[in-house]
């Protein structure tokens, strides 16, 4: 496979008054292969957005080498920009322009030939189920529609690589589901996707490979299966018990000292209730994330909403 992004020793420091510089990204290395959906996970302030901003030319690195689509980021930025699409976390199209005009303006900026613009805009509107909203100003679209149109605008010039920063954050279930399907379809079209998300399930479902970044350092990079296999997560059992009154109860057992002692203790405590089923629980991506970051998925989402951050390991 051909590497689409090659990052080596990427570092970004922000100066702070009277303090040592903030190391937002600290000597990270990774490669994104052509046609894959590459997930970039991490808690708030881990360096995800800073990395995306550098890769898309919005911010300059303090040190390190970056190649995007075989071109050097420092010397070939304009040529790189022609071939990438970026969907930022906030929907940032123009409120005053209609859905159709926003797409046309994107294509004008990227030099899509005039004769192709109209057909391409219509095709994108239909693909993102916005055909009926063609003449509606961006300001008057629903949140899900704004998100879809922002993604459509990023695809308007047929980029080879798309950066998606938290694409489903703040969407209702159905809109998020539809968008995930659209992102999955991009892979089928041969587009490489660089995705950041706070939703671990989304990352697990969509991404071919994942990098987990904590405090500016990549602490793990592998396929979802590879990450799970490397996690020293303890085996868990889920036991379904039925009482004499027919009431069903589910219990999760942590097998700290092996499966047998845990089951024996369960039998002692079950007091005549019958065991209906025993299931083995495999480590989830959340387990991997908790192990590597010390944060739970709930805390990560709470961070996103600005709530208090708590360390699950104490």
């Amino acid at each position: 496979m051909t590497p689409v992004i090659q990052v080596s020793g990427l570092t970004k420091h922000f100066p702070q008054k009277g303090q040592p510089p903030l190391r937002a990204v600290n000597e990270i290395d990774f490669t994104v292969q052509e046609g894959e959906i590459f997930g970039f996970l991490g808690p708030n302030g881990a360096g995800k957005t800073t990395t995306i901003r550098i890769l898309t030319g919005l911010s300059r690195p303090t040190a390190g080498q970056v190649q995007v689509l075989g071109l050097d980021l420092a010397s070939d930025l304009v040529r790189i920009k022609k071939r990438i699409g970026v969907v930022p976390e906030t929907c940032n199209l123009y409120d005053e322009l209609t859905a159709f005009d926003n797409l046309i303006f994107s294509m004008q900026l990227y030099g899509v030939p005039r004769r192709e613009r109209k057909d391409r805009a219509e095709e994108l509107l239909n693909r993102f189920r916005l055909g009926e909203k063609r003449s509606v100003p961006f300001a008057r679209l629903s949140r899900g529609m704004k998100r879809a149109l922002t993604i459509a605008a990023a695809l308007a010039h047929c980029p080879a690589l798309v950066f998606l920063d938290e694409p489903t954050t703040g969407l209702d279930v159905m809109s998020a589901r539809t968008l995930r399907q659209m992102i999955a379809n991009l892979r089928n079209e041969g587009v490489t996707v660089f995705l950041t998300t706070h939703y671990l399930e989304e990352a697990e479902r969509l991404c071919d490979r994942l990098a987990i970044i904590v405090k500016g350092k990549i602490v793990a990079l592998d396929t979802v299966a590879g990450l799970k296999a490397c996690t020293p997560s303890k085996v868990k059992l889920e036991v379904t018990l039925a009482g004499a009154d027919g009431q069903v109860e589910k219990r999760r057992l942590e097998c700290d000292h092996g499966v047998e002692p845990a089951l024996q203790q369960l039998l002692t405590e079950s007091e005549g209730r019958s065991i209906l089923s025993i299931d083995t629980l495999r480590p989830s991506l959340e387990d991997v994330f908790v192990h590597l970051t010390g944060l739970s998925a709930e805390v990560m989402l709470a961070e996103k909403g600005g709530k208090e951050v708590k360390n699950v390991n104490g």
Partner: protein, 243 residues
Amino acid sequence: MLMDDLRGMFYIALKDLRAYYFKPPNISWGILFPFAFILAFAIRNPGDLRALVPGLLALTVLFGTSSMEAIVIVFERRIGSLERLFLAPLRLPALLAGKLLGGMAFGLTVTLVVLALALAFFGVDGVNWLLLLPALLLSAMAFSALGAYVSVAVREVFEAQTLANFIRFPMMFLGGVFVPLDSLPAWLQFVARLLPLTYAVEALRIALSGGRGRTAWTDLGALALFSVSFFWLAVRTLEQQME
């Protein structure tokens, strides 16, 4: 790359004109505001009304170009859409030049309306068109670049409006719009010579009276210098913000 820059500039200007500039309140305000000032002055000091035309035109260019220009960039930065332009395949100076072009196009459009009204009223005799057109163009460029610099130098829309007015209003009273420069004390004349509006009024006055000569070229040169300086400052400020 040059083609990418030129294309980007053109479409950014076109988009700004459609999305922000050519709205009814902007057009009417852009034309009426300078008229209101000049009319108030003329009622208070009745005399040669024709002598006020250069000032009227200069004020129309100043407010027509800089009012929206000073807000557009900071507004787009607040809502995040400026980032779309940073991500587009064009260089930063081209992006800013596109913004400038939008301001200039609007400012010159409203000024041409005011010019047409003024010439219809006072007649076109003695107008040096070869000087008038570059004077209008360079004035629009200088004021639009000033607006762009104000817009990138601040973080909030209200700050942009405050800073723009802080610069424009003293300029309006010192720049020879209402009071001839010669009648000012020497130190105020020195201050006036540091302001682009002074050169715009002077160049327009010479052009409308059919004059020519070295003074007009000095004025045009000064306006070009102000344009380049404000534009360079705006580009540098934006570059530093992206560090």
